[in-house]
C-alpha cells in the first residue's frame, strides 16, 4: 500500500538506509547518520507503506529496536503496542504534512511522540519521522500538582463557611461545596455569573462592590460587610462577607476570595437579648417609678454649667408641674415658700460655686395655698465631660410630718390621761398611807382622854398614848410631804435628781398595795448612784407603772413567792439604769415590742397606754426603756438614763 504524499518546500534529502554511488553524497549521508546517532532522542523513520525504514542508536537503546525490525510494521513490534493508532496518525501526517503529537508510555517512562512528515528530495512526503521526547520528570511533577490540587479541593470542600473566588469582573470562578449548597446552585450554572445575581439582589450594595473593586485593584485590606436579607437555600439569612486578594506568581490577573459567614442565629439571639434587656430596662424603670411614687420621692439631675435640669415623674407630681415641661431654677423658685426662698437661693449659689453634697428641708407653697414639706438631698459629681452636676432626691415629707405632729399631740394627751390615771391610783394609796397614822392618832387620843377621865387618872398611860399620838402625827406629816412633792410640779421640768430617792418614794407609796397583792418587794438600790436629769413626777410615773405591771403579772402566781426585785445601778455604758424583775406570767419574745405600742394590753382591765407612755417619757429623757423575758418565770423591764453632770440640789 502506497500513500501519495504532499510536496514540501525546503528540507533535507538523501537520507537512505543504504549507501549510493555518489561518494560526496555517501560521505554526507554517513555524517548525517553519525550525527543522528549522537542524538539522545530516539528517532524512528516509518515509510509510507508503514514499515520501519531506519532508526538511530538512541531508538535502539531506549526502544530496544534491533536491525531485524527494519522493514517490519510497527504494529508487529512489541514496543509500539502502546501506540495502537499509530498507522492512522502517520497517514494523517503524510496527508496533511503537519506534525502531530501523541503521548506514549514505555515501562516507567513517558514520552511525547512527535510524528513529523518525512520527505525525499522531491519534497514528496512518503513517510514519517517519529521522535520520542522523554517527559517522565515533567509528568511526575504534573501528577504531584494534580494530587496537591485535589487535596486542597477536598480541604476547601470541608470548610463549613462558604467560599468563592471571583475574577476581576466580580464574576464567580469557583466556590467550595458549602458555597454551592448555601445558594442551592451547581458549579456549572454559576461559572462566570456575577456575584450580584445571587441572593436575590442582596449583594447589590455599593460599599461591598466598591470594596471588592478596591481589593481587586490592589491588595489593601477589606472591612467585613454585613449583608442582611440574603435569599439562600435556607431562606433569608444575614451574612458577613470577608475578602482576601488572590494573586498568582507569573500571572497579572487578580482574583478575590470571598468568605461568607452566616450570623443569622447570632443576630436573632442578639435581637432577643436586646428585646430582653429592653424589657428589663422597662421593668426596672417601672419599679423605680413605682418606688418613687410609693416613697413620695422624686429624683433630679442638675447640670450646673448649662442649668439643664432632668426631673423624674414623681418630682413633677410633688411640685405639681405638668409632666415633661421644662424645669428651671426660676420655675422651682415659684413654688418655694417665700420664707424659705432666701435659704433656697443661698443653697443654689453655694452649689453653683462648687459646694459639696447638700441636704436641706424646705417648704413649698402650692397654687392652692397648701404647704408641702420636702427634704432635698443631693450628691455632687462630674459628668462624662468633667462638668459639675448634682444628682439627688426630693422627698415629700408632708404626710410624715403631719402624722408626727398628730402623734406627738396624741402622745402628750395620752401622757396626761396616764398621769391622771396614775394620780388616781396614787391618791388612793396616799389616802391609805395617811389614814393609818391618823387612825393611830385618833385611837391614842381617845385612849388618852379615857385614861385621864378615870379616877385616879392613869397619867403614865396618858403620857404614853400622847407620845404615840405625836409620833403618828409626824408619820402622817411625812406622807403629806411626799404627796406635796408629787403634786407640786405641774410642768415638765428637767432637774438633777436622785433616782434612788425617787424610787424609794414610789415604793413607799405603793408598798401597801403591793403587800395587799402579796408581792414581796426587794430593793437593791446602788450606793453612790450618780444623779440623772429628769422630771421627777414623770419618772416616778414610769417606776410606778413598772411596779404595778410587775405586781399585776404575778396576780395568778400561787406556786411560788411573788417576788419583785427593783434594782438601780450604773451600767456598763455609764448610764443610770433601773430594772424591775418579777416572777409573773412572763413575755412571749415575739410580742415584746408590741408591749410598747399604744392600746396593746394583756390585762383584762388595762387601757394599754402605760408602757407606751412610759417609753415616750423615758425617750423624752434621752433614755431607753425595754423588756425581756427572764430565764426563769417572769419578765424584766428596764430603763436607762444618761447621768447628769450636775449634782442634785435640794
Amino acid at each position: 500500500m502506497t500513500t501519495q504524499g504532499a510536496t514540501l518546500s525546503g528540507g533535507w534529502t538523501g537520507f537512505q538506509g543504504v549507501n549510493g554511488d555518489d561518494p560526496a553524497a555517501n560521505t554526507a549521508n554517513t555524517d548525517l547518520i553519525n550525527i543522528l546517532d549522537t542524538v539522545a532522542v530516539p528517532i524512528v523513520v516509518v515509510r509510507g507503506d508503514f514499515v520501519v525504514a531506519c532508526f538511530n542508536r538512541a531508538a535502539a537503546d531506549v526502544l530496544d529496536l534491533s536491525p531485524s525490525d527494519i522493514g517490519r510494521a510497527p504494529r508487529e513490534i512489541s514496543v509500539f503496542a502502546g501506540l495502537p493508532r499509530l498507522e492512522q496518525q502517520c497517514s494523517q501526517v503524510i496527508i496533511s504534512g503537519v506534525d502531530s503529537r501523541i503521548d506514549f508510555r514505555e515501562a516507567d517512562k513517558w514520552f511525547v511522540v512527535r510524528i513529523s512528515p518525512y520527505t525525499k528530495g522531491d519534497r514528496q512526503v512518503n513517510g514519517t519521522v517519529l521522535t520520542f521526547t522523554n517527559v517522565t520528570p515533567f509528568r511526575a511533577s504534573l501528577d504531584h500538582a494534580i494530587y496537591e490540587r485535589e487535596c486542597t479541593k477536598a480541604i476547601i470542600n470541608t470548610v463549613a463557611d462558604p467560599l468563592v473566588v471571583l475574577d476581576a469582573d466580580q464574576r464567580i470562578q469557583s466556590g467550595n461545596r458549602a458555597f454551592y449548597k448555601m445558594f442551592g446552585v451547581s458549579r456549572d450554572e454559576t461559572q462566570g455569573v456575577p456575584l450580584n445575581d445571587l441572593g436575590n439582589g442582596a449583594f447589590e450594595l455599593a460599599p461591598l462592590r466598591e470594596q471588592l473593586k478596591e481589593i481587586l485593584a490592589d491588595s489593601h485590606g477589606f472591612q467585613s460587610v454585613e449583608v442582611p436579607h440574603v435569599v439562600t437555600a435556607k431562606g433569608q439569612r444575614t451574612l458577613i462577607l470577608d475578602a482576601h486578594p488572590l494573586s498568582f506568581p507569573g500571572h497579572s490577573e487578580r482574583r478575590v476570595l470571598v468568605i461568607f459567614q452566616d450570623i443569622t442565629a447570632r443576630k436573632q439571639a442578639e435581637a432577643a437579648k436586646d428585646l430582653r434587656s429592653e424589657e428589663e430596662l422597662r421593668r426596672s424603670e417601672a419599679f423605680l417609678a413605682e418606688g418613687q411614687r410609693l416613697s413620695l420621692t422624686g429624683s433630679f439631675c442638675w447640670k450646673v454649667a448649662t442649668d439643664d435640669i432632668t426631673w423624674s415623674e414623681q418630682l413633677y407630681r410633688i411640685f405639681e408641674f405638668e409632666p415633661g415641661t421644662p424645669v428651671t431654677i426660676e420655675r422651682i423658685n415659684t413654688r418655694v415658700h417665700p420664707e424659705d426662698l432666701p435659704t433656697m437661693n443661698e443653697s443654689i449659689a453655694w452649689a453653683r460655686a462648687g459646694g459639696a453634697d447638700f441636704e436641706y428641708s424646705l417648704r413649698l407653697l402650692m397654687a392652692d395655698d397648701s404647704v408641702k414639706y420636702v427634704n432635698a438631698i443631693a450628691h455632687r459629681s462630674r459628668d462624662a465631660g468633667g462638668q459639675l452636676e448634682y444628682m439627688g432626691a426630693v422627698q415629700d415629707e408632708t404626710q410624715r410630718r403631719m402624722s408626727e405632729e398628730a402623734l406627738a399631740k396624741a402622745r402628750s394627751e395620752l401622757t396626761k390621761v396616764a398621769r391622771i390615771t396614775s394620780l388616781g391610783v396614787l391618791t388612793a394609796a396616799i389616802a391609805h398611807e395617811v389614814n393609818q397614822p391618823l387612825s393611830g392618832i385618833v385611837t391614842n387620843a381617845s385612849t388618852c382622854l379615857r385614861m385621864l377621865d378615870v379616877d385616879p387618872a392613869n397619867l403614865d398611860g396618858a403620857r404614853e398614848t400622847a407620845r404615840r399620838t405625836i409620833r403618828d402625827g409626824n408619820r402622817a406629816s411625812e406622807v403629806i410631804t411626799r404627796l406635796r412633792a408629787l403634786f407640786s410640779k405641774k410642768e415638765f421640768t428637767l432637774e438633777p435628781l436622785d433616782l434612788n430617792e425617787a424610787t424609794r418614794e414610789v415604793i413607799a407609796l405603793s408598798l401597801s398595795e403591793l403587800q395587799r397583792n402579796r408581792v414581796i418587794v426587794h430593793s437593791e438600790l446602788a450606793d453612790d448612784l450618780p444623779p440623772v436629769r429628769g422630771d421627777r413626777v414623770e419618772l416616778q410615773q414610769v417606776i410606778l407603772n413598772l411596779l404595778r405591771n410587775a405586781s399585776d403579772a404575778m396576780v395568778g402566781v400561787e406556786d411560788r413567792p411573788r417576788q419583785l426585785t427593783i434594782r438601780t445601778e450604773l451600767d456598763e455604758e455609764d448610764r443610770v439604769s433601773l430594772t424591775v424583775h418579777d416572777v409573773g406570767v412572763g413575755l412571749e419574745p415575739q410580742t415584746v415590742e408590741q408591749l410598747f405600742a399604744a392600746f396593746y394590753t394583756t390585762k383584762a382591765d388595762g387601757m394599754g397606754i402605760g408602757l407606751s407612755v412610759s417609753r415616750s417619757i423615758i425617750e423624752s429623757h434621752h433614755g431607753r426603756l425595754w423588756a425581756a423575758p427572764n430565764d426563769g418565770p417572769g419578765a424584766t423591764f428596764s430603763f436607762s438614763l444618761p447621768r447628769s453632770s450636775e449634782a442634785v440640789t435640794s
Binding site: S439, G440, R468, D472, R518
Partner: protein, 124 residues
C-alpha cells in the same frame, strides 16, 4: 366575883393600830390579843376564845375577808368588825352582807368602835 372580860382579838398588819387599839379596848373593859397577820391568828390558841374579831381588810398574805371565809369554813362563828384605811363605799355593804357586824373606816372614833363592839356582843 370573877368578872370574865370578853376577849377581843385584833388582826392588823399596821403597827400603830396594834399599838394603840389594845389600850383603848382595855379602857373599854375588854381583854385584848393582837396579831399582825391572819396566819398568826389562825395558828394561835385564841381562835376559840375570841368573842369578837377586829379585822383589817388589806393585809399581806391572807386578807381580812379571806380570813372571814376561812373561819366560816371551820365553823367558827366569831362576830367580825372590819377596819380599813381604804375608804371604799362599796366594800362595807358586801362585807356586812357576808356576815360582818360592822366595817369602820380609819380613822374611827371611840364611840363608833364601842357601838360596833356592843352590836357584836349582841350577835355573839
Amino acid at each position: 366575883m370573877t368578872i370574865t372580860r370578853s376577849l377581843v382579838s385584833v388582826v392588823d398588819d399596821d403597827e400603830s393600830v396594834r399599838e394603840s387599839l389594845p389600850d383603848l379596848l382595855n379602857e373599854m373593859g375588854f381583854a385584848v390579843q393582837v396579831f399582825s397577820s391572819a396566819d398568826e391568828f389562825l395558828t394561835s390558841d385564841f381562835v376559840r376564845l375570841t368573842k369578837i374579831l377586829i379585822l383589817d381588810i388589806a393585809m399581806p398574805g391572807m386578807s381580812g375577808p379571806e380570813l372571814q371565809e376561812e373561819l366560816k369554813r371551820r365553823g367558827r362563828r366569831i362576830p367580825i368588825v372590819f377596819i380599813t384605811a381604804k375608804k371604799d363605799d362599796t366594800v362595807r355593804p358586801s362585807l356586812i352582807a357576808r356576815g360582818a357586824v360592822e366595817c369602820l373606816f380609819k380613822p374611827f372614833s371611840d364611840t363608833a368602835l364601842l357601838s360596833a363592839l356592843n352590836a357584836a356582843l349582841r350577835v355573839a
